[in-house]
Amino acid sequence: MAAVEKLSFDVLVVGGGIAGIETAINLGNNGLNVLLVEKDLTLGGKMIMLSKVFPTLDCGACITTPKISEVARHPNVTIFTNTVIKSIKKQDMHYFKSLLVRNPRYVIESACTGCQLCEMACPVVVPDQYQYEMVGRKAAYIPFSIACPRVAAIDIEHCTLCGACERVCPPKCIDFTQEPIEFQVIIKAVIIATGFNLFDPAQIKRFQYGQAKNIITAMQMERLLAPTRPYNHVLRPGDGKIPDKIAYVLCVGSRDRTVNNPICSQICCMYSIKQAQLLMGALPMADVTIYYINIRSYGKGFEEFYEQAKGMGVNFIKGKVGTISEKENGSLILRYEDICTGKLKEAEHDLVVLSAGVLANQDATGFFSDDRWEKDEFHFARQNDLFFNPALSSIEGVFLAGTTYGPMDIPDTILSAGAASMEAIRYIKQMALKI
């Protein structure tokens, strides 16, 4: 590893999803120097992958990209992508010290023009994680067209070192000699905006996810519906057929003690209703049925959005789905309890979407080895003073933004990011007065 570089900033923001981006912009606009660290190759988190967002039906990419471009060019914000946090430690009353490792892209970031010639030349194809494995990508690749930075990277795990990319790259920016760089950063405050993980439905065997071909997650459906979609149409992954009876199974991995996640994920009812509406637009002939326990359309404009979906002809069935099984033709049989009639019923659908829930991302536990980083009983970051300072973590000077402390949608994420920014600025101002 190359020698340790030393840097200092006012605030370290960990996580480049919408929470981290909004926080960095807020802080930067108020004159603070910010280091924004993202472990992925690109900023944007989950939001940039979304098709349209409820309840405004704005295109996800269209409202995320301007934020990203604002943060990317902000004079007070430095961005490290592909970077992991090794540790964050309180040094004294005023400062934290953090160790980061910036992993190599094997591409000289400043020289790459994003021409994608390397991508075309690369012979290796692997599943594309940004399209949730529904299509392939190359080992030399740009994550997606609106990635930021829009710069190639080499997936060294899969690369065969054939050198094809090196030969075609016009600015000669492929560099296999790059090594991880370690940084030591001194900061006054930290914001944790590491977001959430999605529940893996393969854990629930009776739903057959990963076994039956035409069962996908809602995130995969987001991709099928997005402007930068993989097949340029909504198709069943199993055989490329246009589906005409689509089912949504709600609360997958949420409100479920058998998978140790008793809480409600707060967003899945709404994103499913949104997708149902988009599907009615994309496939006017299709039937869409949503199997739910309770519909939680609680936010501003949500109930109206739910009513709108009913008006458009989306079927809502109050019922818990017991099992899903695959027929030979790839269609799926759902066995469910129809609560309104109290009967066990079966229904056939040709595509099933599992609305997987939100789980805590517990990475931050690893950052703070000897400080008192606390979690709540659901493994989310603990808010130390819920009503008075919702953004405060269990460590003074460390603030929380976004889904780090619980499931939430984009507007709530934006509000929490505003709160974390305000608290961080206030904290730094106050600490400056103490000697």
């Binding site: 108020n30 704005d58 060019r73 009639t341 953004a391 505003g418 305000m422």
Partner: protein, 644 residues
Amino acid sequence: MSKKIGVYICRCGCNISDYVDVEKVRASAEKEADVVLAKTMVFACADSSQKEIINDIQNGVINSFVIASCSPKLHLPTFQAVAERAGLNKYEYVHANIREQASWAHSDDKEGATAKAVQLVRAAIAKVRFATAIEPIEIQTQQAVLVIGAGVAGMKAATSLAKMGVKVYLIEKEHFIGGRVAQWDVLCLTEETGKDLVTRFYNDVVMDKDITLFTGAELIESSGSKGNFKVKIKITPRYIKDFCEKEKMRRAIEVCPVEVIDDFNFSITKRKAIYHNFPSQYPLVAVIDMKNCTRCGKCEKECDKIDFSQKEKIIEIDVGSILVATGFDPYTPRKGEFGYEEYDNVITLPQFKRLVAINDKELKWNGRQVKTIAYIYCVGSRQLEGENKYCSRYCCSTTICAAIKAGEKFHDLSHFHFTRGIRTYGKQEMFFYEASKQGQVFLQSFEDEPPRVMRKNDRTIVCINDILTNRREIEVDADLVVLVTGMVPRSHGRISEILKLPRGRDRFFNEIHMKLRPVETVIDGVTIAGACQGPQNVVEAINSALSAAIKSYSFVSRDTLQVEPIVAEIDAGLCTWCGACAKACPFDAVTQINLEGKEIASVNMTVCKGCGMCLPVCPVNAIQLKTFSDDEVEKMIGVLAQEL
């Protein structure tokens, strides 16, 4: 300098290109005079596209440009910033909306959508030919913020701003601060009571020398713009001087002969016309409610601090930003709605919460012991017929929580919840789980068949056709029926008119963008926080208060601010001062002045919002709107009206 126009046509992923043939639009644009470059882009707003435009400008290929993409509401500022970063004046860029106005509006007619997009782009090109550099107007900012409403959101915003070194005026319409939270006992999710929480906030407020708190204070006038608002506040006195002795005050209250309904306890108790605060209400000084006081003078004899000579005051202050945090009112059911005001044991959720708070050993209502409680959900929310279509968000969790807390305080209660599907979102799901585990009963009605409340043999019965037990008719004989009333915006007097703040269909204040800018409003410099924007719980309201505070801070943290130079201009030669424009202006920006002996109209540039209302009323056509001159608009119409 001759115009070298660049035209960038956005596919918006496929939001536009699915319906509009962008290549055709590009080809048509390219043929227009002065257009030197026309490109299509996947996402014009993406960082890489922005860089491409900047390069075209900086390499001298173009010196003005048109973006044809989504609504300017979304991205006008994005591309204005692009122009500026490239060293171009932002008014040398013109926007054409070919998504909302072409592709989405005509998704059933691709040819028509394309033809319309072609015309819209040509019109934009016609306009950009006129484009000249204009400079923004600079104003000196007032480094102070007016916060309206001293509930928890307002107080949190005020203290945060003050800690950033900003002068804050916090005004509260009531004589006591704390808003609704002061009225709550133990709050969900913690062991803290509303009183504890309000006390913490209040201590922060009074300890901060940068916060000036006015109670009994209402906004009555506002003028100016972001960075520099002039506001007038009317202050109603307490009619009691500070530092009065406790015992004297107690006696003064005792002798007051007037009894009125106590709003603090949501009408379940009475108070006097001179009344003291509840322990959770600050400041700790009593007040005389002049609306109900008969001036009998009895209290004056008991306490020498009573002072009927105190006068209403109007003060004027200058602030750079206004933060509105006026909160909500609980919905008031109609007479007869689920037996409200018809049967004496039907009360609302806020009343129930006060009842639990003020009862000690036994839960009693009207002298009778309460054992069985029926809660009817969604009263005033999710209405099928009424106006309130929205879900009030807080009530499912709050009710379950209140039922659990009531059960802890008073034993042997039975709870029956008549719901429309429980919405304990997020971690609040645990309340639902807990209550179910305790054996509280949850029933659910069909959407079109709400529960009914009726009287049988002098008992109040709630009856439901229950979804959860297979449409069984269930009747509950209840000692107390609690109507789970939703949130409606607090009656804020004239605030929305005075500040010209738009409200949504749900009558809550509207934000600029529900997703990304939830605390900013279309009135630059005015932010909204807490439940005045939409139903919220305490944590959500505090988050929104802090977000609003940081946005308000950005209007006052610098010495000067720039405002849009798109304002009306008066041609002094043509104007004959008839006053028509002054009457038409909704912002009072037009005044009469004397210019070298001639009476003419004059526009205050920092107040003018460029709405254009004054233009059509001028009989001599002496007014032009910058960047929208008659010439420009006529040329655009000319193009749009042309047959292709």
